[in-house]
Symmetry: none
Subunit: 128 residues, 4 copies
Amino acid sequence: MFLEIEQTSPIAIYTQLTSQIKKAIVKETLVAGDDLPSVRVLASDLGVNMHTVNKAYNILTEEGLLLKSKKGYVVSPKINRQTDEEQEDEMKKRLEDVLVDILVHNHSEKTVQEWLSELTVALRKGDN
Amino acid sequence: MFLEIEQTSPIAIYTQLTSQIKKAIVKETLVAGDDLPSVRVLASDLGVNMHTVNKAYNILTEEGLLLKSKKGYVVSPKINRQTDEEQEDEMKKRLEDVLVDILVHNHSEKTVQEWLSELTVALRKGDN
Amino acid sequence: MFLEIEQTSPIAIYTQLTSQIKKAIVKETLVAGDDLPSVRVLASDLGVNMHTVNKAYNILTEEGLLLKSKKGYVVSPKINRQTDEEQEDEMKKRLEDVLVDILVHNHSEKTVQEWLSELTVALRKGDN
Amino acid sequence: MFLEIEQTSPIAIYTQLTSQIKKAIVKETLVAGDDLPSVRVLASDLGVNMHTVNKAYNILTEEGLLLKSKKGYVVSPKINRQTDEEQEDEMKKRLEDVLVDILVHNHSEKTVQEWLSELTVALRKGDN
DNA sequence: GTGGTCTAGACCACG
DNA sequence: GTGGTCTAGACCACA
């Protein structure tokens, strides 16, 4: 399984799940049409509660990244993953927060660029 | 006062405070040596609890952005704002999360670059 | 065949079936006395389980829209399609729910009227 | 309290809650800025579980009808209650389903109009 | 087998 | 006091 969660992390488990699934989609470890593990199976695999997985899947479905059918959850086609303006503003705000935090700690914009390059490369190849 | 907080926002007030103070430092609205308003004064100005302001100041002090003296809190010199490797990894992780979120919603790396430029420019000039 | 079902939809298949058959009756694609495809045939045509088709036919029969004979199901005469008061209340309740939902999202009663007109026209002409 | 739920109804409790709260907003029993009862208080009042109320509140917040602050949930200003095109299609589809159901049971379009008028009037005056 | 709903009860963060 | 998260376990609808 391509997902791992840290029980001790201060980050909510369902958030860790959504992040990792998004990452898997960006890396194309998961592609449009792929089935996700059933809620109960994934929960038991990870040793977390069913409801926690369910919440993660629901959020991703709301965001248009997953589709819910009667047979379970599936990665949705690219077409469904668009964002509206409000959501873009949200993302920009989050980007700004991170940016400010990096800059305030004496890093230059150049460093940000480098990190972005690193991250982008890492997202292109390799599995999780 | 260069700080505004939204009482109705679901974002924790102390988080709003740390974010805005960091932004003020990046924008050089606040520079090394500047005094911050006393905990009591700021709390009363903003209509929030003293403990809340205190928490924000403490966090910023922990991060090396403020210095606590007998007379109150001041913006610390640049030299104190360095990060260790662990904190850098933290920031990279946060940057990655935002990046993945942007990319997974069909935006290109180019868009990320553009947003970064916009944000950087906005951080250079103007007040909060 | 005038029926199509979406296997991937989260809406129950038997519900999709009843909806579409009702629509066909309103559009007079199906009129009193018409035979419906046999349960087996329809199930195989649509690639769904026999029980599912059966459930749909049963519900429609319960509602007085179909008649079950030894030879199979047929569209029942208009006279059988009446509703009792309880069912009318049910329908009104459902209408109210939709209405409230439309109004609460800032649409006017005029919009509701327009939508109804559109829908009514669409139901008059054309096939499914 | 202006809300009542039927434990025995086949309709999910959280759905009953969202419906009734929407109705209260349309009737202006609840207006922009009003506080909603806290999750736990409402749950105990109604004799249902906290999570059930929470789910209802969350859905309404997603729809833009409520706002979540640190002090609880509040009815949001009209401006936030807009719908996008996709949501409108959804509502039209639901309206169509109800309409078909009414028409297929021998009611005329005129009846639908009458019911709508009744319902609209009822939504204008009086409390729940 | 799949997800959906609900309950009961616990612990945490915030202010 | 507020909501958020998580667990454990139950029952139901659908196919």
